[in-house]
């Protein structure tokens, strides 16, 4: 006898709105949290959560009920966040510079360096930023990042490496030697 969650997933696949709402209620927090990690802006994360679930609803017929819902939703959320980052011009990307100061683990890192690092990071290509923010800042497992981005684990490592290298070059051009 199928479990209740399987029934809900099957009903969602057939376009049932109640099943979709049940999945929304169950996963909205996880999707919001995931998107927030990428965009670092709670307001944008809310909008992108709505966008993600709209995309999920649009794609309901393509959902494979045998596979888990959350990684699929995370992948759609990542794509929505990537589209958002691409549409946003880096010079207007204030979110990263408006972040609260983290606990000073290293007192040598002054506020100016912190802001310049955040600004340099905002100038990186969005696909590199996403990989770096998820793998380095949020310390998510590479496997999970790879699944969310729809790429392999070595590709994630390569993107992170390229992001760090570009970041270093950018900071060096500003006279900051990490």
């Amino acid at each position: 006898m199928p479990e209740r969650s399987d029934i809900v997933l099957d009903q969602f696949r057939q376009g049932d709105l109640d099943a979709f709402e049940a999945l929304f209620r169950q996963h909205q927090r996880a999707v919001f949290g995931w998107v927030l990690r990428i965009v670092c802006d709670p307001s944008a994360a809310e909008d992108l959560t709505v966008e993600t679930f709209w995309r999920i609803h649009r794609a309901h017929a393509r959902f494979e009920a045998a596979r888990p819902f959350e990684p699929w939703a995370r992948r759609i959320a990542t794509r929505a966040a990537l589209d958002w980052l691409r549409a946003r011009r880096p010079e207007f990307d204030q979110a990263v510079t408006d972040l609260p100061s983290p606990p000073a683990a290293d007192p040598g890192v002054v506020a100016e360096i912190r802001i310049k690092t955040a600004q340099a990071f905002a100038r990186l290509p969005p696909r590199l930023r996403i990989a770096a923010v998820l793998a380095v800042v949020e310390e998510q497992p590479h496997k999970q990042v790879a699944a969310a981005l729809g790429i392999s684990v070595p590709a994630v490592k390569l993107r992170v490496f390229r992001a760090l290298r570009l970041l270093r070059k950018d900071l060096e051009s500003q006279g900051i030697t990490p």
């Binding site: 929304f24 909205q28 809310e46 709505v50 690092t117 923010v133 949020e138 990490p178």
Partner: protein, 81 residues
């Protein structure tokens, strides 16, 4: 870039961008917004109805224009049908 440089850049990045609060939640119920979004742009039309056929229609339109422009070719087309 050696491993030491990489670690230093990672540390700098972690200090510049604090991780998101794992307990963060939306400030409001987003379900009404999802419903509004669905109403504004209902789910995709039956997949493939238009998307898969547009090329067929474009080909047919092209053939009609071609036949109208060069009527002498119509018997040749009919012969090969």
């Amino acid at each position: 870039m050696n491993a030491h440089d990489e670690d230093r850049i990672k540390l700098l990045l972690q200090q510049a961008l604090p991780p998101a609060d794992p307990a963060a939640e939306p400030s409001r119920d987003l379900w009404p917004a999802v419903l509004r979004r669905l109403d504004a742009s209902p789910a995709a039309a039956a997949p493939g109805l238009l998307r898969q056929n547009w090329f067929d229609w474009a080909l047919l339109a092209g053939l009609i224009v071609f036949a109208a422009s060069f009527p002498a070719t119509i018997p040749v087309f009919l012969y090969y049908l």
